[in-house]
Amino acid sequence: MTEGMEQRRKERVDRGIKVRTDSLYALLSAGEIAYLALPRLVLILGLLLLPLVVPGMYWQRVITITCIYGLLAVSFDFLAHYVGLVSLGGAFFVGTGGYLAAIANTQMGLSPWLTVPSAALAGGVLCTLLLLPCLPLRGVYFAIISLMYPLFSARVIEALDILGGTDGIMGIDGFPNRIVEQYAPVVLLLLILFGLRRLVTTDFGLVVRGVKDNDQAIRASGINVTYFKAVAVFVSASMGCLGGACLVHIYMWSGISQFALDFSILPIAATVIGGSGTLVGPVLGCLILVPISEMLREFGTLRIVFYALILVAFIIFKSEGLMVWGRRKYHQFERWTRI
């Protein structure tokens, strides 16, 4: 190196906030309470206020759909990052939940207050039972098999002309009013997001994460791997079914387009953009991707090109994901130091 030119490197220093090391201190100062609460409040209040800020019904509807995609993305991230099952079955979960809610509403006359939770639970059980034979598979093998489920279901409904065939099931009740319709997905998403963040740090969550890390050691510890995988799939599938059930009541129609692969693919893209393993990241990814996808609608088929470009740009320039990057910026200083 030439004389006089000084070599520097970037150094990262943890912020000197006690809350990082000792949770009790968080209660002792307003600054530290704010440090903890601010990012969470931004998300919660942001999602709650967003429908009031955006212009017109159309964009309010987009936000609702975004939240449903958010549910799917969180469910994908949970299964892929914490359990090690890369699932392309998002569309299957949505379709199952949607059709179950539709049947419960039209055949049994249940109100949306009952159909949505019961479709989520029953759909979760149904999806778990159907995926049970595939649970020994891992990674990309599970991905391929789980992709088959939505394709298969749509074809079966089409070919056998059951459940309304290609016309779908019509005449489903909407949510009682606009506010419920607008906020049900938002509130559900927030509840599930924070609930799931809690779940993965409990002892139960540790076991589930252990399944991903190393299933042989789980077996050697006398724990049934398949049982824990099944419970995780149930959690994830219920979230997808919940989204599907909401969707059906919003559109007041249920059809085979609910098995469309958009519901499988977009959550994955959102997880890539938002940062996998953060659970919040995928929601953030959906908040970016779904509106962009709507805005690009004017370009017709060209929108796929723009969409792809955005994805590629994210993968190249921010492959860690927005949330991982943002979290680092929030918790650490960066400064140049002389070597």
Binding site: D203, G210, A220, S221, G222, I223
Partner: protein, 262 residues
Amino acid sequence: MSEEPILIAEEMTKTFGGIIALNRVSFTVNRGDVLGIIGPNGSGKTTTVNCLTGFVRKTSGRVYFLGTDISKKPPHKIADMGLTRTFQVMRPYYSLPAYKNLVIPLFSPRARRTGGWRGGGRLGDRDTVGIDILEEIGFERDSYVPYKNAATLPTGYLKRLELARCLALKPEVIICDEIFSGLSMSEIASMVPLIERLQMDGITLIMIEHRLRELFRVANRVMVMNFGEKLMEGSPEKVMSDDKVKEAYFGSRDIEEVMTHA
């Protein structure tokens, strides 16, 4: 030494395609025994462990543990009965801190059954129980080692972590698959008393080892394997002086010479 058999293997056979990895191996382990299994590389020692613990499906043969036939049971059921094992290639949960590694076995049905509230029942805190177990096994409680990610721990600690995972289950039997391999002399020296203590606590041990000197210090019976077959079984002294063993295991060299190099 009581003569109550705790683990009986009958004619265990395992073939991988045309290769016979285990050929009609039978043995009995009594409660409180420390059985050493030795043999050259590829002689079927680890396959024996895998067959006993259900990680590999036997081609034929039976295994009885505590009087129950466990030949067809899946590995988690066998571990649940108290027949635990360590892995030769350590298998910690790399993304978790050392003590959190133990929360997982402590969450298992067996630990919850046997551990009472300390095993992490409704009142128990599995984190503290985990640290207690780690301290027993040689992690300094007040150091940062138990709190470090398993990915950053050296081999010596990972081997101990393997043992700790078994202990968390309050086992009847621990099968140690080469627990001394890859360790330095001083690490082995600190490990031997641990093994002796497990033995005094009444845990039956099966140890697969290449470190004969340390093994013969703790083992009361040794089984020698070669080419998937049981060559002989007996006390360490008897095994050491056997000509067949010398020839199969040590080649033609004198055993005393090998022992001094071991």
